[in-house]
């Protein structure tokens, strides 16, 4: 029998009730909980509002076996979670001297004296296990309340996520039922959403388990697979079978099989081959360099980037012949190629990658419309370029151009 543990998530903070804010913590938490066979049945978003929060926590304890709250553990007046959770559970709240001292030390390490108000972050609910927060000042709490697990976590994802993974997940695994849910994400570049669906629908519609969802995310197609099994191995075997079939029809358009980002895939390929790269960007304005260097260890293969926004910079720093710009315009195949060659020679790398284009909102003409982008890749033997016409606004054109350029390099490295 498939029996899953039920959970609910309470996101706390008045800012989460504004029209421009959405609670993303619960998405990540849902994925984590699902992966250990726990199903999320309800989510509540409540402001810094004592009465409503108290009611939400009290109601939750009556119907769910796992309750996770995020937010409201900061040092300010409106961080009410500790106080209200204690009241909802009928437990005392008291100052823990040891945690207070740790907090003081944490501040001192960064050369500050702890502000007095932060001492409220050392208040602990009776019977709670304190969850250390290596990335912030607010510790979390884990309370077993008559068999219901109540977990208080801070709101910032950088603090919340490692705390959940290290200190909460292992405890919950023990409580979860006998179903394991495993997800996998394939990432695809260079194909449209309907093209992908047309290729893979005949395959994935044959299966109820795994379930397949296709998501269009900026310039990438994400194929989400969710499998259920008695064990993780069972679920993984189902995923292996399906993803092999999908890969067969999608070929090298699939660039990632475990959710890795494009820049991580490219970085790994450069790294294992001992290759180096340098980048010359115009319309992407540093985005490609930023993505490549976002990967830890990228200094091994990323040598230099030039954001040549002005024609002068293209000529002076990258050595593009001014006549080439005059004749073809800055957004053209010859200039893209000269930029790629120029940065490769300047930085003395194996590869030179370049982008020039019109990201908008201004600057488009009939002949060279918004979204027109040239990318080029230069190596010792040859220089290749591609012309793209990318849909979307400025941000999206920039992102898509960076993705296409990185994908050009990825395919060269296969």
């Amino acid at each position: 029998m498939l029996e899953t543990l039920t959970a609910e998530i309470i996101a706390i903070g008045s800012e989460l009730l504004a029209p421009d804010r959405t609670d993303t913590n619960s998405l990540w938490l849902t994925e984590q909980l699902n992966s250990i066979g726990i199903e999320v049945r309800l989510k509540t978003i409540v402001g810094d509002d004592d009465a409503r929060l108290e009611e939400a926590i009290r109601d939750a304890t009556k119907r769910s076996k796992v309750i996770i709250t995020t937010g409201g553990l900061g040092p300010t007046e409106d961080d009410v979670t500790r106080k209200v959770a204690a009241r909802a559970l009928g437990r005392r709240l008291s100052l823990d001297e040891e945690i207070l001292e740790e907090l003081r030390q944490k501040f001192l390490r960064f050369g500050h004296v702890m502000p007095e108000r932060n001492s409220r972050q050392a208040m602990v609910i009776e019977g709670a296990e304190v969850l250390p927060n290596p990335n912030g000042s607010a510790p979390g709490m884990f309370i077993d309340h008559h068999g219901v697990a109540i977990v208080l976590l801070p709101g910032p994802p950088r603090e919340m996520r490692p705390m959940f993974e290290t200190n909460v997940k292992p405890k919950l695994v023990g409580r979860a039922g006998n179903v394991r849910v495993v997800r996998r994400m394939l990432r695809v570049a260079g194909l449209g959403e309907s093209a992908v669906d047309e290729k893979i629908a005949p395959i994935y519609t044959q299966y109820d388990n795994p379930q397949t969802t296709i998501l269009f995310n900026q310039s990438e197609i994400e194929i989400h697979l969710t499998a259920r099994g008695r064990t993780e191995d069972d679920a993984n075997a189902l995923l292996d079978r399906l993803s092999e079939q999908l890969e067969e029809v999608l070929g090298d358009s699939v660039f990632s099989f475990a959710g890795e980002k494009m820049e991580e895939v490219v970085g790994l390929k450069l790294s294992v081959n001992g290759y180096t790269v340098a980048v010359a960007e115009s319309c992407t304005g540093g985005l490609i360099a930023q993505r490549l260097t976002d990967v830890a260890g990228s200094s091994k293969y990323f040598m230099e980037g030039v954001v040549a926004y002005s024609n002068d910079a293209k000529t002076r720093t990258l050595g593009v012949d001014p006549a080439l710009i005059l004749e073809n315009g800055a957004v053209s195949a010859p200039v893209a190629r000269a930029m790629a060659d120029g940065i490769r020679k300047l930085a003395n790398t194996d590869f030179g990658l370049s982008v020039t284009g019109i990201a908008g909102p201004g600057g488009g003409t009939e002949e060279k419309p918004l979204g027109l982008v040239y990318i080029a890749l230069s190596d010792e033997v040859q220089t290749k370029h591609r012309k793209l016409q990318l849909p979307g606004d400025r941000q999206l054109v920039r992102w898509r151009a960076s993705q296409a350029a990185l994908d050009l390099l990825r395919k060269r490295l296969i």
Copy 2:
């Protein structure tokens, strides 16, 4: 007496509890409700789950004056909203022959015979006003339940939105009375969360209206102010008064008064003064260039960026004296200053901005730990630098370094 009407939103549908889905209807509804002076105090997301939905609706009627549900009005078994709402309110549900006939006609107009299961969409709750749905088959309902307005709307935005605007909003305006809610966001750089709160708590705690929420978002502090008034002008006057007081204690740490991003503020200041800038980055890897060029029209003031990841690039492209690197290391004040001078001269701009640091996770030493960052700003008259010790992981150190560098330029431009 200013009394805002309190609302809550219940989003219904199991798909909204998946890890890759978020409820966006409530954001749009919140904006709509706020604009007519109604405050959203709670949001619930519940699956196609009779018991939990019934409880959610019943609880909501006890604490809120306006309740809006979205979703669960379709023709299938798991569309439970009508049935469960009737039960929660203790009202009968019965078939409305007139609506049934309209539904049949609607299907016929598109050349179809109405499937039998769609007849459940003609079920109406006792006492409800039926809300026509011009873009779909599911009608909505408006119920006045002992003074509480309960509104059932379909989930698809293209059906829900026009129904709300045409048939719901006018009814709620009458109930909302004469209160308007206006929001404003101040952004702060260069100060920690507790430091900000310590400065401003003595001020904002004096006011119930506007309400103040402080949010820590990457390297920025966001101060969210929400004011209620009889008119928008009244609310804005309250916001003006409070934000002036806050500005007085925070000084030039406040860089944005209407939610503008740092790169937009800096860009505007460069633009109106006719100044130009170029950037030399090491550990931020192109992030500053990317942020500056993310702003439309930035080609007017942003000329060039160099991502000098290798020492060789620092020397060759930026003209940093190799002896300087040898003597002080690449992460040092003299090298940061030489990079700023170098890029300014190379690109022939008014300002040269530079960053060099250790973003991690590797590369830290006792003398030069992770998070050590130098930023420098060069102009024709002088070169300034600052030494920073930034907490956080690789991404956060990079972000914070980019923010501090942009902030250095912003303060120079005041």
